[in-house]
């Protein structure tokens, strides 16, 4: 499937800021399921900085903006040819050992309810167990925007019984780790479907490590494994660690962020 992305993040400041530094994970992952046709990231007034591919296989690009500026726009535009691999991250080069992703982080910390949820799932093998855990998270947390925020933990979302894709991903990571399965947070895009679920076009899901298959994606928010409607950008322990844009500005200003994303399927 051919997907085009038009993703603009605008930062507006009430006072001009200086010395803005950003670190981006905004390039499609290199693996058998994705082929970049064209891809460009621009930052208004920005100077491209150092670039490297990290141990998890993500392309990390630094940017600096000397300023003073009152508005910054980070625009991502591109086209990717995707293939449905049933969630399997085939042909992805990385050096971070899977065991590294058994570590707890603040948003994925286990509590009694998460442990109970994790134990409720069963499967004949690890892959089935992973599917069962993902289904259990889908059942336990209903999709509802606006009830959780950026710092909501998996435990809090589970207690609420509601949340968005970030909460689903954190919860799945938590329950997988409880069952001894390395799990990580993935950020990316999801193309709009006919029923108009474009509000989660900037999307997140989880990957669980299954011996024999490697990393396999699970999207509890949509009760599915990522297929050719998904574009994978990068991964991390949790949402903050996997954030497509991390940035900081000098100056005591209030920042207002506005994001528009459109991911469309295009004819070849």
């Amino acid at each position: 499937m051919r997907l085009t992305v038009d993703h603009v993040t605008r930062y507006a400041y009430d006072h001009p800021v200086r010395s803005v530094v950003q670190s981006h994970r905004l390039s499609p992952s290199v693996f058998a399921g994705q082929k970049v046709i064209d891809w460009e990231v621009t930052v208004t007034g920005g100077v491209k900085g150092a670039q490297h591919r990290d141990g998890a296989g993500d392309l990390v690009q630094g940017w600096t903006i000397a300023g003073p500026v009152s508005e910054i726009a980070v625009a991502v535009r591109g086209t990717v040819e995707t293939t449905d691999l049933a969630g399997v991250l085939r042909g992805h080069r990385e050096t971070v050992p899977p065991d590294c992703y058994l570590r707890e982080t603040t948003p994925t910390r286990a509590d009694v309810a998460l442990v109970t949820l994790a134990r409720s799932a069963s499967g004949e093998d690890l892959l089935q167990l992973a599917h069962a855990l993902s289904a259990a998270v889908s059942d336990a947390i209903a999709y509802r925007p606006g009830v959780t925020h950026a710092h909501t933990t998996a435990a809090e979302a589970l207690a609420l019984g509601e949340g968005v894709c970030q909460d689903h991903a954190h919860a799945l990571i938590a329950v997988a780790r409880i069952r001894g399965i390395p799990a990580r947070y993935v950020s990316g895009y999801l193309s709009a479907s006919a029923d108009g679920s474009a509000h989660e076009a900037a999307h997140a899901w989880a990957e669980l490590h299954v011996p024999g298959l490697g990393w396999v994606g699970f999207d509890p928010a949509n009760r599915a494994c990522p297929d050719d409607r998904y574009i994978r950008l990068g991964s991390g322990f949790d949402a903050q660690d996997a954030a497509p844009i991390r940035g900081i500005a000098r100056g005591a200003a209030v920042e207002v962020m506005d994001v528009t994303v459109a991911v469309l399927q295009t004819a070849q």
Partner: protein, 469 residues
């Protein structure tokens, strides 16, 4: 427990201390107290009052200086030196390995869990080999002695071990107060440390650096307990002492603000923890670091010493495996021994530990500074019972070791001269070459019978001599 006195064997004076015997014997009582007061005044004047890394305590408290030197013969030191360098080399090989292919784990010599699930394992540097393959550029190896030829390594410090300013200042003060001692004894100099450190740091400049590398020391600021040391080292090396706000990232480099405009920085000797280095990579609330630093670092634009992630080699649980590292990477037998250590996380070990708790020293895996530890032979029944409960609740958080009969060195105390327990922290430099200045920081437990030498627990420092022959 028979304690090894480094000066006396019975009534015999051991050779390295022979000349000190006359020195003490002929020193009048008044002179002694005069000199002790003078030493304290000198320490206070230079403002060296900080606690050794991670020990906490009152940053403004003066750490007692004891004038009685601790002496090693050339032969004793030669062995220590080989053992320390061997260890520093193996620890660095381990770090390059676990951030690369992880051969030692694949070979089953170290459990992957201890390494990869360790908080100190930095995913952000996996797959990266720092210049010259060095992660830990200054390795502080804490050593204790139990006999003429028995040295044990208590722990390794691979991040930013501090205390080296005590080594330098203790010598300075001793030379000022007792110049004749340095004429009568052939004592190896330690003041070459700063030049060796500068050379070591310059030798790991990134490949992109053309010409003479610009080295800086990055300090968290004057409120830090080791700030004196940061400024002393900057001074001695002739490099800038900077805080996070003095540096910035632009384009593919790190720059330092100067009166003549921005200057490119090649090597950062950082004295702040990984977590605070870069808010875009680690703790987002850190105000101490430089935003974007890690992106420049990972793309080879700047060197950071010690390299982020080096801490995974000095974890107390990983410590147990250092002898295996030496065999695995160097194909040699360890020259310095580890203290036998029980991992309480292992059920068999835990049972043994609980069985003989009153004879053991129990430490937290991630603890430092002598806090949260149990010294069995010195503890009350109550304290032991409390620790037993802690161990059962969270065994994985503890290791246990036999209480060693630490060696003693004569020390000036209220009643005259008496033996007190000591340890040793030499500072091994690793860059293009591995170098060790002959000497180190000798810490002394000033309380009679105490085995805890940490400054936060009433420890003091001594000048450490290595004789030239």
């Amino acid at each position: 427990m028979a304690q090894f006195n480094e000066m006396f064997q019975g009534t015999e004076v051991r050779a390295p201390y022979a000349r000190l015997q006359d020195w003490v014997a002929t020193m009048p009582e008044e002179l002694r107290s005069l000199k002790q007061a003078e030493a304290e005044a000198l320490f206070r004047r230079i403002g060296i009052t900080f606690a050794v890394y991670g020990e906490g305590g009152d940053p403004d408290r003066l750490i007692p200086f004891d004038m009685f030197p601790r002496v090693f013969s050339a032969m004793e030191w030669a062995k220590l030196e080989r053992g320390i360098k061997q260890r520093a080399q193996a620890l660095n090989a381990f770090l390059v390995d676990v951030y690369g292919r992880g051969e030692i784990i694949r070979a089953g010599r170290i459990p992957g869990r201890l390494v990869y699930q360790n908080e100190a394992y930095e995913k952000a540097v996996a797959g990266f080999v720092p210049p010259k393959g060095v992660y830990s550029h200054i390795v502080g190896v804490d050593i204790v002695r139990t006999g003429p030829d028995q040295f044990y390594v208590l722990e390794d410090n691979c991040r930013t071990p501090s205390g080296v300013s005590y080594m330098l200042e203790s010598r300075e003060i001793m030379m000022r107060m007792f110049p004749h001692l340095f004429r009568e004894n052939r004592i190896e100099p330690v003041d070459t440390y700063s030049e060796k450190l500068r050379r070591t740091l310059a030798s790991v400049a990134p490949a992109k650096c053309a010409g003479e590398p610009t080295v800086v020391i990055l300090t968290p600021g004057h409120f830090n307990s080791a700030y004196y040391e940061h400024s002393l080292l900057a001074d001695l090396m002739g490099v800038e002492l900077v805080e996070g706000q003095d540096l910035f990232v632009e384009g593919e480099c790190v720059w330092m603000r100067t009166t003549e405009g921005p200057k490119r920085v090649d090597v950062i000797y950082r004295r702040i923890d990984d977590a605070f280095l870069d808010p875009l990579c680690f703790r987002p609330d850190s105000m101490l670091g430089i935003p974007g630093l890690m992106d420049v670092y990972r793309s080879g634009g700047v060197s950071i010493c010690s390299a982020p992630g080096a801490g995974v080699a000095d974890d107390k649980a990983v410590y147990t495996y250092v002898p295996d590292m030496i065999r695995f990477y160097l194909g040699e037998e360890p020259i310095l021994q580890n203290v036998p250590t029980w991992q309480c996380g292992r059920p068999n070990d835990l049972a043994q530990v609980l069985d003989k708790l009153p004879d053991l020293v129990v430490k937290e895996v991630h603890g430092s500074g002598g806090y949260g530890m149990l010294v069995g032979p010195k503890a009350s029944r109550d304290e032991i019972d409390r620790f037993r409960a802690k161990l059962i609740e969270d065994p994985g958080n503890y290791i246990a070791q036999p209480a060693l009969a630490l060696s003693t060195v004569p020390t000036f105390v209220e009643e005259g001269i008496a033996p007190r327990h000591v340890d040793l922290r030499p500072y091994c430099l690793v860059g293009e070459r591995i170098e060790l200045v002959p000497g180190g920081l000798t810490r002394v437990a000033l309380t009679e019978g105490s085995l805890v030498v940490n400054s936060s627990q009433g420890g003091g420092v001594k000048d450490t001599w290595v004789l030239a022959e």
